[in-house]
């Protein structure tokens, strides 16, 4: 799982192996155990996947047939799950695919929260500028050959498709007992400074993994 500039190269892998003089193949055993430990540790797992219905015909009114949308200036739930996180994981991240309806750029706020008790213990916020994903519905402001703006068109999507990510460091979560956690992903979009913009989530995935540094 790509973790940006986070690298495993500097990690001390594996449990320390006592080098007993009479321990045959001690180095080999050590290498194997390190490998197993590294293997269990490094690989990200899918914590939660949430998908909502959508159409892909590239038409504006398809937005009206998505199964979920909201336009607020406060956080609204996109995905939530309860999951037992292995203690070696110290990093959660989520990626969201959604449409944001705005004739201009808008800020998309995402919040990823984890708690293993009654109290939320960490959260993270990210802000992105929506930009159109090529090939997807974005036929706004069609200009005709005669120079008239496409006001006569039935469809004025004014929507951008965005794919955004939010990271959460679990350093503040008690490593001794992450246990059964509640993981929540929320979001909303605004046209600065404060106008609520509609968000149409299509899909969200939450992953857990290990990062150092």
């Amino acid at each position: 799982m790509p973790l940006g500039d986070r690298h495993y190269g500097t990690v001390t892998l594996g449990y320390p192996i006592d080098a007993e003089p009479r321990f045959q193949f001690g180095d080999d055993y050590g290498a194997i155990l390190e490998r197993l430990y590294f293997h269990a540790q490094q690989h990200a797992v899918i914590v939660c996947e949430q998908s909502y219905g959508f159409d892909l015909r590239g038409r504006a009114n398809d937005l009206a047939t998505t199964r979920r949308s909201f336009g607020t200036t406060s956080y609204v739930g996109i995905a939530r799950t309860r999951r037992r996180l292995p203690p070696e994981f110290n990093h959660l991240w989520a990626i969201v695919s959604c449409g944001v309806v705005s004739g201009h750029s808008a800020d998309l706020y995402l919040r990823l929260t984890v708690s293993n008790g009654a109290t939320d213990q960490a959260e993270s916020i990210t802000t992105v500028q929506p930009s159109a994903m090529s090939g997807y519905s974005n036929q706004n402001y069609v200009t005709r050959q005669d120079g008239t703006v496409g006001a006569q068109f039935a469809y004025q999507p004014r929507a951008a498709h965005v794919q955004a990510r939010v990271d959460l460091d679990l350093a503040n979560v008690d490593p001794a007992a992450p246990g059964l956690c509640r993981v929540t992903l929320e979001g909303y979009a605004v046209y600065p400074p404060s106008a609520a913009m509609a968000v149409y989530p299509y899909r969200a995935s939450i992953f857990a993994g290990v990062s150092y540094g």
């Binding site: 490094q42 219905g53 590239g58 090939g135």
Partner: protein, 285 residues
């Protein structure tokens, strides 16, 4: 002579018996090999990489709302899912992916699903990673076991779809969508054409693009394909004297001239992807 205890094998019990390697207990080559095999067994297992579920109750209401990830497969590559470079966890060393797709495709029509990975990115298609799906008109499962994925840690997946079009595809049903199914282009821009001979395609309700159609432009003398197939994107009401025209994509390259060519409008296959599940293929070598 110390007793050599047999180690438990990961294949069977999913764990190691560490009591077999206690202090003061001798180890032999067999034990070491078993330990290596256990290690390999863990490392070679493919796991869940990607999963997508649509609302698949098949209730009329779901269909009407497009809750089943409904789309028309365009005659060129478009996104099958609204995601791009979606992260998929995977163990290092796994270099193949098995994907099962449950989809509902127009009977007899062929749709291709291309999975772009780091190893076979979109720019390299159609070099592989294409699942060919022939529709049955009902929900059906399509599977491919050898999608090529990068053997490094993790992957990034993008799903594209494309319709395979033929000269036997059904022509536009004018009773439903209005206008004409064939004719001669009388006026055209780079992404737009007109037939002024009264081709009144509907501008509300059942419109050509709502139903999912494509257009071919042909030499009127011999029927040779000059440009296309192009996906119909929009019905446009011109002035009263000009009638109605159709927008299409991809737009024409600059030198192409449509006026005077024959056109034909045919139906694109309907696609509803109900679910996709993808797993890393266990390494055996």
């Amino acid at each position: 002579m110390p007793i050599v205890r047999p180690p438990e094998i990961n294949d069977r019990v999913g764990c190691l018996d560490d009591a077999a390697y206690g202090g003061g207990v001798a180890a032999e080559a067999f034990v070491l090999r078993e330990l290596l095999r256990n290690s390999n067994a863990l490392a070679c297992r493919g796991g869940l990489m990607f999963r997508s579920l649509g609302n698949a109750s098949n209730a009329v209401d779901e269909v009407a709302r497009g809750g089943q990830q409904r789309s028309f497969a365009a005659p060129f590559w478009t996104y099958a899912l609204p995601i791009e470079q979606w992260p998929a966890p995977k163990k290092s060393g796994i270099n193949r992916m098995r994907a099962r797709v449950r989809a509902e495709i127009t009977s007899g029509r062929t749709v291709e699903l291309f999975v772009a990975s780091r190893r076979i990115p979109y720019a390299n298609q159609p070099g592989g990673n294409i699942l060919t799906m022939v529709g049955t008109g009902a929900s059906a499962v399509y599977e491919k076991n050898d999608f090529v994925v990068d053997d490094g840690e993790g992957e990034n997946l993008t799903f594209f779809q494309r319709a395979v079009v033929t000269k036997d595809d059904p022509l536009l049903v004018t009773a439903t969508y209005g206008g004409t199914q064939t004719g001669t282009v009388t006026n055209a821009y780079t992404d737009y054409f007109l037939n002024t001979a009264g081709a009144a395609w509907n501008t509300t309700g059942n419109q050509v693009h709502v139903g999912g159609h494509y257009v071919n432009f042909m030499d009127p003398l011999n029927g040779q394909l000059i440009y296309g197939p192009c996906k119909i994107e929009e019905v446009y009401r011109e002035t009263a004297s000009l009638g109605r025209g159709l927008f299409f994509s991809p737009p024409l390259p600059p030198p192409a001239v449509l006026v005077g060519l024959a056109y034909e409008i045919r139906k694109l296959p309907d696609v509803r992807i109900l679910s996709i599940a993808a797993y890393g293929v266990d390494r055996t070598g």
